[in-house]
Symmetry: D2
């Protein structure tokens, strides 16, 4: 392991700045070589104190900057497609934050572009696959001890949603994590989705359908239900229970510290996903850096990003109609056969 | 509180014999005065050692036996309707095991008979309302601290089903408990039901659709989901989480004793509802005895029994068609207005 | 099981009134026949609404009242010795609240009196032996699955102590429960005790040594530690972990209902032993009534009461000296050989 | 943050090899520049695949190797003193695994040597201070919400002890972690220690006093008890409950994944400290690398290492005598005043 991997980071907002810090301070083997953000001041601020890094307002300029060997895309979703294609054109490995591309047509376009290259360059940022609890659940399901999984009961709660959150974003932004997790845990594509709408919470902004209750079916008949409640007010909670033929396993009920005071015993509930999944983000980026420096690409693929997009889009349609919506996927290119 | 209440117990099978024991040994203020069972030997065996009790093969003979002041119906469901009407005809207070009457038409007939009497005589055996955890959850929801309930997530698992269990019985026998609990906890009637069918577990008998996933909507827009899995193989589990506007509360995850041994920390899971709900049965019967001796009738009413039946029957229809089925209830007689 | 057992209740204070209610309303097979309390008004109030009960200001008068077949002693501790002896003199079965007799000399006197009778008449009120969790722990230890017990870690916390609580009462009143539980769970007498005194909590009354940390050794070398903290301020908690050669088991961490709200997940902590051990009290009295009506005496014996007293008295001495105090017991009369 | 910090690792055994991997693959900003181990083959194996690293059989040769700017001592305890002094002589920053020095005299010698330098160079490897749960407990105690701590109840269990483990090593090796944790959490020196010896487990090697129960008092009157049981057979468990004036807080009861199967609900218990504290080790080393590259020394100091040694040595004495042993510490050099 010789020199450090030079990474161009696209986007210097909340998530981009966190990844810059992570590349510089947490993970070994990498360095930030270039940063691009339309807001040059924000980019300058994010790299304060770093050596040998160039700052740009255009993404492509960052890709072409000296020392850039790989790209981390943390810009807003609508910019992802162009950035991915630009990275592909240069043969640069990419770690792309989710959603890979906000619309399924664009996702398919990226999928086809990588397929034409004939080799994988992109890893998609489904970081739950790197979370310690999810990995233990995946390992347990894979070893067959509990028999085949029949149902997943999932809960996804946020304290409150950002100002401009829409009813559709509960499905295609929040639930997209469960979509990928369900596909990964169960090893099958999701084939249908229904979105049920309980009466909205009075704690949700006017007009937002929150909570929602989303149901998926898999290709081999398993059922996945997801409560998504982004203005629950009391904490950030991600739970998943897999009900199998010979047992069930549940993650997400941890209490690292039990406090008893004033008539109550309990645990603090994390208020933010950056707290809950900090280790997962670290592990994700480190895995990527290490693989990249060895010339390999592992982890969630563009196919995974595409499939999540397609399922989410179907979910939004179900949200509108109230009916069950079948998910239709393009044929899976041979590049992704060995898959996940 | 002077003399003991003389009770006629109809049915001396598993449940009837347990209630005879309870009346004799657990609850105060009552005595078993008569027992009826078509199998006279079984009835004799159930009352061995008791004084002043007569044994009959006909239910009506037991109702007319000396010293009988009240009736506990623990015979098979198909016999309930006739027994209830016989008790009504004699003005005898009744505690009737669930299901009150297996079919909704019969349930409605009983409802109308009691309504014609103009006073309540019957209490229906929804014993979860007497379970300590359910009562705490009910009290919490009622005090308003967590805001309005939006969703109930329920789990109902048995180790294995009896030999002749049918797919419909998952809904109208097993889930009938959740039906009453949801109505009681949420304070609203259930207005629709959908039954989803994940692929059957290989641990279930051939042809049985097990597990099922049942969805209900309430009159004011709350959503109730129930996983029912009667051949789960690993234990008897009843859980209920109420998701409200300002918090959630969950019951059924108790571990009375945490055992750590051989690489695992954990709790024993009760294997039977008679273990899990023993206190609830005791409390139920005691409450009934006490109220009866004061000439009052409290607890779940015939209306509750009727409504459960109607919802279950709709559920069975949804199970057949795969579609959402609306629940239609008869007009509620004024007798039940103050209700639940 | 014919007529109801006529019980004389001595003492109509907090605990006596609760037992009167329990005999009348909760347990089957018994009735309150007489009540004695120096405060006749308090006694009258406690029996309001009961039939066929006489009220007395002298204990012996109650024992001699018509219909009295058994005695429940719930008067203050200093009155117990005389009441026990009076019951013995009349051959009446007794359930005596703990402490059996406050001083060890008096306890020994009662022990000898019963031994002279040559048959057991008294059951002592160590109700933890009837608690569901303790019984499960006892059964687990007895079945040998976890190997021999090596240590018990106990916690005994109260929200706050009564006004006139003394440092000695933490040992001889509060910890007396753990003393009996340890003897019962481990099946050996306690042979030494040490009381350590952490700095007192600022939440404790001036001058009260609270908390204390008490250590016991058993005859066969097991170690028992007890945190007793009677002004902990946050709840009533009783925990016990048995550490054995092949595993450990812990009771007392139940959460019947998990509530998540405002950044915290947790359970309500009961504030009172009457809440936590309500079922145990019921089961205790019922067991006693049933045994008594069959002419038998089971449950904790006078020997158990005596031994607890002796150990507690040694503990108070250790509290004074700071040193380890050996416990010395009188020879065990043959009457108690079959023992617990 | 420019070039990578060149680290000499002393010792290439189990722990040394793990730190070499960590410096190379997990933490950012550092590289392994030299390794020393008497067994040259073992050292070569540990650095296979690394660039620009030299291998030595003598510790001092590694300290003088090109590119060495800092030292990580992971050699056996008896070699620590000489290595620390050699690092001090060269002005090299050091991270030294615990025990800093096995005997208190040697520890004091190192303390004096650093004090003569007038600046801190060494950080001691008490990695629990970097564990997420311990940090949350520390933060909670420091913010004062629960009032002053009165007691710590600690549990330290291993599946089985290494072949040559002695009774003294339960105190000076295993409990040394609790010693440092207690000093750090409570913010006071430990002033006395008592070691109680329950009967040994039949699962422990012949002659080993296992388990032990260790009691400490702090300078301001708090009490610390530690169950140490290194052949418990069932798992690696580290628990700590802080009992304070207004509440208690407990860590170490995590269950990341709850599995329910075959009549039991439970969590897997980690079998090894490298699993349980993996993140803590990572965070520890990363913190050290970062501070070192900025020319600073933070974290546990030589004073901490010395104090732990002194308390442990007193504990071993109490183990021998059965009596309470007071801990005497040298005067604290001004260098450590600002302290922990």
């Amino acid at each position: 392991m010789g020199d450090l991997l030079g990474v161009a980071v696209l986007g210097a907002g909340h998530m981009g700045a966190d990844h810059i810090r992570r590349l510089d301070r947490v993970v070994s083997g990498a360095r930030v070589a270039a940063v691009a953000d339309p807001d040059a001041g924000r980019a300058e601020e994010a790299v304060a104190g770093l050596d040998a890094v160039t700052v740009h307002t255009e993404a492509e300029a960052a890709l072409d900057a000296p020392g850039v060997e790989a790209v981390l895309i943390a810009s807003p979703g609508p910019a992802h497609q162009e950035a991915l294609l630009a990275a592909f054109a240069r043969g640069l490995p990419v770690l792309c934050e989710k959603p890979m591309v906000p619309d399924t047509a664009g996702a398919l376009c990226v999928l086809e572009a990588e397929a034409r290259l004939g080799r994988r360059l992109a890893q998609i940022g489904f970081m739950r696959r790197y979370d310690a609890e999810y990995r233990r659940l995946k390992a347990l399901l894979d070893d067959g001890r509990l028999g085949r999984p029949l149902m997943l009961h999932c809960v996804h709660r946020n304290v409150s949603s950002p100002p401009d959150f829409t009813s559709a974003m509960l499905v295609d932004s929040s639930v997209s994590h469960e979509i990928d997790a369900a596909r990964w845990l169960l090893g099958h594509e999701l084939t249908s989705v229904s979105v049920l709408r309980p009466r909205p919470s009075s704690g949700a902004p006017q007009g937002l359908l929150d909570p929602q209750f989303v149901l998926f079916e898999t290709a081999d008949g398993a059922l996945v239900d997801v409560e998504v409640f982004v203005n629950c007010g009391f904490g950030y909670q991600v739970r998943c229970e897999a009900v199998c033929e010979a047992g069930s396993a549940r993650i997400g009920d941890d209490h690292g510290m039990l406090v008893t005071a004033r008539g109550a015993a309990g645990a603090e509930v994390p208020q933010d996903y950056l707290v809950r999944f900090a280790d997962a983000y670290d592990r994700e980026v480190q895995t990527w850096v290490d693989a990249t420096r060895r010339g390999r690409v592992t982890g969630p693929s563009v196919w995974d990003g595409y499939a999540a997009s397609a399922v989410a889009e179907a979910g939004v349609r179900s949200l509108g109609s109230g009916a069950r919506v079948a998910v239709e996927l393009a044929a899976r290119p041979g590049l992704y056969a060995a898959g996940r």
